[in-house]
């Protein structure tokens, strides 16, 4: 995927979000630090443009909720910033790449500390498979079969496996 493919996928995902959640005032789009933040910002902007309303946007760092604390170095990338009480809102969690699902599990626990969301949905640019927990995304930019040992990088400039660009 190149930058144009990512732009189109983002645009489609934003419209899918609006289709399922027509009222932007009930919506909070929250990007996971740090990989999901760019995508969350773009989605929030497009959802805002399409619906003509303001969408709450936040960022979440899940380091303190991970299940591998003590197994590997776990340090937060950046502080969490969630400007609103999430009770009653629909939260769209946003990350760049969905892999084992463990980060999303941690994020779900973290979100609980900010209020009881009405529902939580998940948007990712790339679903690369290899889930270790029963978690599935609601909005996907691209399903990408990968080997477990490969590295996947998804940014505004495109999606890259290892250092080879995905066609």
């Amino acid at each position: 995927m190149d930058a144009e493919d990512v732009r189109r996928a983002t645009w489609r995902m934003a419209h899918e979000i609006v289709e399922r959640n027509p009222d932007p005032s009930q919506l909070a789009i929250i990007g996971l630090q740090t990989g999901g933040v760019w995508l969350a910002e773009r989605l929030a902007r497009i959802v805002g443009e399409v619906t003509g309303g303001d969408v709450e946007m936040g960022t979440l760092d899940v380091a303190f909720y991970r299940d591998d604390i003590g197994l590997r170095p776990v340090l937060p990338e950046a502080a969490t910033h969630i400007p609103v009480d999430l009770t009653g809102t629909t939260v769209v969690l946003v990350d760049d790449v969905l892999f084992t699902g463990r980060t999303i599990r941690a994020a779900l626990n973290a979100l609980g500390d900010y209020g009881r969301a009405r529902a939580v949905q998940l948007a990712v640019m790339v679903d690369r498979g290899h889930r270790e927990l029963p978690i599935r995304p609601d909005y996907v930019g691209k399903n990408l079969p990968t080997r477990r040992d490969e590295m996947v990088d998804a940014t505004e400039e495109g999606v890259v496996i290892g250092d080879v660009q995905v066609p």
Binding site: I69, P73, D113
Partner: protein
């Protein structure tokens, strides 16, 4: 144990610190890391539920052989907000009064399965000694004699950083009883390490016998130093110092070295006033100055919890493999 072995035990296999005994254990980069991590814990402290599961299943014991309210409560609150279990030990009600040695007390506490010990003692060097005795636990110095109080210096660095955007190039005066102050020793190392210019303002009788190697200037004239300062850091004056004949009278001390109302008016715009507590209102600082906007005293206490969360998380949760240490 040889000195080299003891030094090796201060870090684990990955080079991450296992204990926090003095500010030098961290160095300027380590202080920066604690500051960065503290931002995340300040955010945690502001939440409706100010608690994260990061240290679930870990046990933190506070071993206070000397009285304290804020430091002990601050550490215990920090540990609880990280979901650690907390054990409290106070010397007065312990088997120390039955004649148990310090070493046996420490090993007994560790044998109950403690991951970190927060140690305060009136004698310098006790936390270092304890770090040499324990097998797996991390040791945090919560103040030892006149030696060091590293988490106080870290929370002060964080408080200054928050108000002034960093310490590089700031002019900071530490005012008062430097000689008997562990806070001053930790703060001088930390402030100077982060690039601040530190001046000690103190009567000659309350300066250490030797200042060799201290990255500081010294002044005995508070009024001339005051207008140029970004930070005025006041130390607590202990009343015992009068009986030791180090000072003629409290009133004379206040007149020469106290931050009186008159002196507070000499402060540069944007300057801040700090104090590690407990404050003797009317002695080292006028009662009303503590409550003015220039005073960062309550911020210091609030930031203390977040900084200690960062320290405990770095030592216990950030991936340090304690077993291989």
């Amino acid at each position: 144990m040889t000195a080299t072995q003891q030094a090796e035990k201060r870090t684990d296999a990955t080079g991450a610190p296992r204990h926090l005994l003095a500010i030098d254990d961290l160095g300027p980069e380590g202080i920066g890391e604690v500051m960065r991590l503290t931002d995340s814990f300040v955010e945690v402290s502001r939440r409706p539920i100010p608690k994260v599961p990061a240290l679930r299943g870990k046990t933190v014991a506070s071993l206070f052989f000397e009285d304290s309210t804020r430091t002990r409560l601050s550490f215990e609150t920090a540990a609880r907000r990280l979901s650690a279990d907390v054990m409290t030990f106070s010397a007065g009600s312990s088997s120390l009064s039955k004649g148990e040695s310090l070493r046996d007390t420490v090993l007994t506490v560790e044998a109950m399965g403690v991951d970190a010990m927060v140690v305060r003692h009136s004698a310098a060097g006790v936390p270092t000694q304890v770090a040499g005795w324990v097998r797996g636990a991390s040791v945090v110095n919560a103040g030892d004699g006149w030696h060091e109080h590293p988490t106080q210096a870290l929370l002060d660095c964080y408080t200054i950083g928050r108000r002034k955007g960093g310490l590089e190039g700031l002019r900071i005066a530490i005012v008062g009883d430097v000689r008997h102050s562990r806070v001053a020793r930790s703060c001088v190392t930390a402030f100077a390490g982060l690039g601040a210019h530190v001046t000690l303002v103190s009567p000659p009788t309350l300066l250490p016998a030797s200042l060799a190697g201290w990255p500081v200037e010294v002044s005995h004239d508070f009024d001339s130093v005051l207008p140029k300062l970004d930070v005025v850091y006041l130390l607590r004056l202990q009343k015992e110092r009068m009986t030791e004949a180090l000072l003629p009278s409290l009133r004379e001390y206040t007149a020469t070295y106290g931050l009186t109302r008159r002196r507070a008016e000499l402060l540069a715009p944007g300057a801040i006033v700090m104090h590690p507590g407990p404050v003797n209102r009317g002695v080292e600082v006028a009662a009303e100055v503590v409550d003015m906007d220039v005073s960062a005293v309550t911020e210091q206490v609030a930031n203390g919890v977040a900084v200690r969360m960062a320290v405990l998380y770095l030592l216990l949760g950030s991936g340090v493999d304690l077993a291989s240490a």
